[in-house]
């Protein structure tokens, strides 16, 4: 079959406008497929990972936006003594937009030592010392820095908050890279004195073997009669609840991904059918020369797969480059879903391209292989 590659390529080149349009259509469709895949991947990573099930988030009861949840910071000391709890992080959250947004900025203020201990982040530039020394210092996630074109040493303002970039960090968790970390007391005082001694949420790390549901129930029972009642959920459940509306939307748009695959299928199939119909006589000549019907079948399927794979491959590459470059994310109520490229999505896209090419080629290839030679030779 490799000896026939020049014939296959030249056949596609003969109708290059048609071939290039098909390739570009397949490319755009697979780009969207990758984008949709990365959104779903981001949501899944946020709600289903190991840490999401073994970490609890304590929030003020019946509050949803981080701006409205205000817990006494000393709840952390009370919780630290409870059985099953290894550590408690008091976290102040500030976001410039509580609603779903593609450019929400989320600040998290927490004690520096606990930030180093519990967040898997690595500084790409700047230093921990620089962060520790300066009250208004901030560590900026790689995605935010890329999106806002920030570098270490820059000073920037979001809403009422002005910070100096003490470092840019990357993380194995894509969602982390959409956050900005500051000192807890800085964020508490950033908008006046009213928030001093208050935090938005408490992040509770459990001891090995502790039952998250039992500990969560004990926490809520502890503060039920306190000054501020709480609602405690696993981090995964908290994020899923916070993003419920978005998750529904994301659940719906996965059909868009399937639609893209369907689009490539019909596009490539149409082109291949046209190509076969243009070459009824040519295929009859090949059969006269001794090409077996199955060889004709394979020639047509290979053409179809080439169109789909080249287009899909370009779409996947462009999609991955765009996702890596753009640092896009969507945030709602302080929780960020990051859109990141991944090998999983790239491989799924590549497999979809090849499979669609194969499927799209079968019917026209069958038609070409079943051609009766003599009537086809009379074809104009």
């Amino acid at each position: 079959m490799f000896t026939l590659v020049p014939y296959i390529v030249k056949s596609l080149w003969r109708h290059r406008t048609r071939s290039l349009l098909t390739i570009s259509g397949a490319g755009v469709a697979l780009l969207v497929f990758c984008f949709v895949g990365s959104v779903q991947h981001g949501l899944f990573a946020l709600t289903e990972n190991q840490e999401a099930g073994q970490t609890l988030i304590v929030f003020q009861e019946n509050r949803f936006c981080p701006q409205s949840s205000k817990l006494p910071q000393d709840y952390a000391r009370t919780l630290a003594k409870q059985p099953g709890i290894a550590d408690v992080l008091p976290i102040m959250v500030f976001t410039n937009n509580c609603r779903a947004s593609l450019d929400a900025i989320v600040f998290q203020g927490m004690p520096t030592d606990q930030l180093k201990k519990w967040r898997e982040i690595e500084l790409e530039s700047g230093s921990w010392d620089g962060f520790a020394r300066q009250d208004d210092a901030a560590l900026v996630g790689h995605a935010v820095a890329a999106r806002r074109n920030l570098a270490t040493g820059d000073k920037f303002t979001i809403g009422d908050i002005t910070v100096v970039v003490a470092g840019i960090f990357s993380s194995s968790s894509a969602a982390e890279e959409g956050l900005i970390y500051t000192h807890l007391d800085f964020l508490q005082r950033a908008r006046g004195q009213s928030d001093v001694g208050l935090v938005t949420q408490l992040e509770v790390h459990l001891t090995d073997g502790a039952d998250p549901d039992v500990v969560a129930a004990a926490i809520d029972a502890e503060f039920h009669a306190g000054p501020v009642a709480t609602t405690t959920r696993t981090k995964g459940m908290f994020q899923a609840d916070t993003l419920a509306d978005l998750a529904e939307l994301i659940g719906f748009i996965h059909w868009l991904g399937y639609a893209c695959v369907g689009l490539v299928l019909s596009l490539v199939a149409t082109t291949t059918v046209m190509s076969v119909q243009d070459r009824i006589k040519e295929h009859a000549v090949l059969q006269t020369l001794g090409f077996r019907p199955f060889k004709i079948f394979r020639l047509v399927v290979t053409e179809s797969m080439l169109l789909s794979t080249i287009g899909g491959g370009l779409g996947v590459i462009c999609g991955m480059v765009f996702l890596a470059w753009s640092g896009m994310s969507v945030a709602a109520e302080g929780v960020t879903i990051a859109f990141r490229p991944s090998w999983d999505i790239a491989i799924q896209g590549a497999i979809a391209s090849v499979a669609v090419g194969l499927l799209a080629g079968v019917a026209p290839a069958w038609q070409a292989a079943r051609t009766e030679i003599v009537p086809a030779l009379r074809h104009a």
Binding site: P6, Y7, V285, T288, L289, G290, F291, R292, P293
Partner: protein
């Protein structure tokens, strides 16, 4: 043993309610090295007979033996393999693959045979030299005249050294000078390469170049004005 033997071959078509039988119990033997021309009126069935011998059409009944193989008994796939190894087909309208160069067109039949790239190149060069088109090897069909295209078609037909070369009105779409060149070339293929040729034509001058001239009339094959009898009757 004859190279080609047709035994009681029948072929019929349906045309509406009417049944047309262009070949009605045909018997024919062709010896190795023969150059046979087949004449007849339009629609007499001469191309049908050629296509049957070339293995691209099916008989309704009867047998066609080529080199001892009864090709009417072969499956579609096996028949394709048989054509690749045994038949060179020269079309009236050349039917070169437009996206391939003259060289690549001639090379096509060899891609189906077990052969090294070096051997393939050698054979293609010899075939192109035989039709005097070495200097046009990298030209595409659209860059050649009708006569040159037909010469490429002949090179493609002979390159695999087939058992038989069939030519369906090979000069039908050419002017007089080019017709003369092509007929001379076919004669050389027969004389110098020793290949067996079966040529359909309605041109008496072209037919005269052959060593045997057959006429197809009302479903019967005639030679020298007499019906061709089955081999058994002839030997008796």
């Amino acid at each position: 043993m004859s190279l080609v033997e047709l035994i009681d071959v029948n072929k019929e078509f349906k045309s509406g309610e009417e049944t047309i039988r262009p070949l009605d119990g045909i018997h024919l033997t062709v010896e190795e090295g023969d150059f046979v021309s087949l004449m007849g009126a339009s629609g007499s069935g001469k191309s049908t007979l050629l296509n049957l011998v070339a293995g691209i059409d099916e008989v309704n009944s009867g047998h066609i033996l080529v080199g001892g193989t009864d090709i009417t008994q072969l499956s579609r796939g096996k028949l394709a393999d048989w054509r690749a190894a045994n038949v060179g087909y020269v079309f009236q309208t050349h039917n070169l693959i437009p996206v391939l160069t003259a060289y690549e067109n001639v090379e096509l039949p060899l891609l189906l045979l077990p052969m090294s790239a070096v051997e393939r190149r050698k054979r293609v060069e010899v075939a192109l030299a035989a039709v005097d088109l070495t200097n046009r090897a990298q030209h595409y069909p659209r860059q050649m005249s009708g006569g040159q295209e037909q010469r490429v078609g002949i090179a493609r037909a002979i390159v695999a050294n087939p058992t038989i070369v069939v030519a369906d009105e090979p000069t039908g779409s050419l002017d007089d000078d080019t017709t003369e060149q092509i007929l001379t070339l076919l004669q050389r293929v027969n004389h110098e390469l020793g290949m067996t040729l079966l040529m359909v034509t309605h041109d008496a001058d072209a037919a005269a170049r052959a060593t045997r001239i057959l006429h197809l009339e009302r479903g019967q094959l005639l030679e020298n004005g007499q019906p061709i009898m089955p081999r058994a009757l002839r030997t008796a």
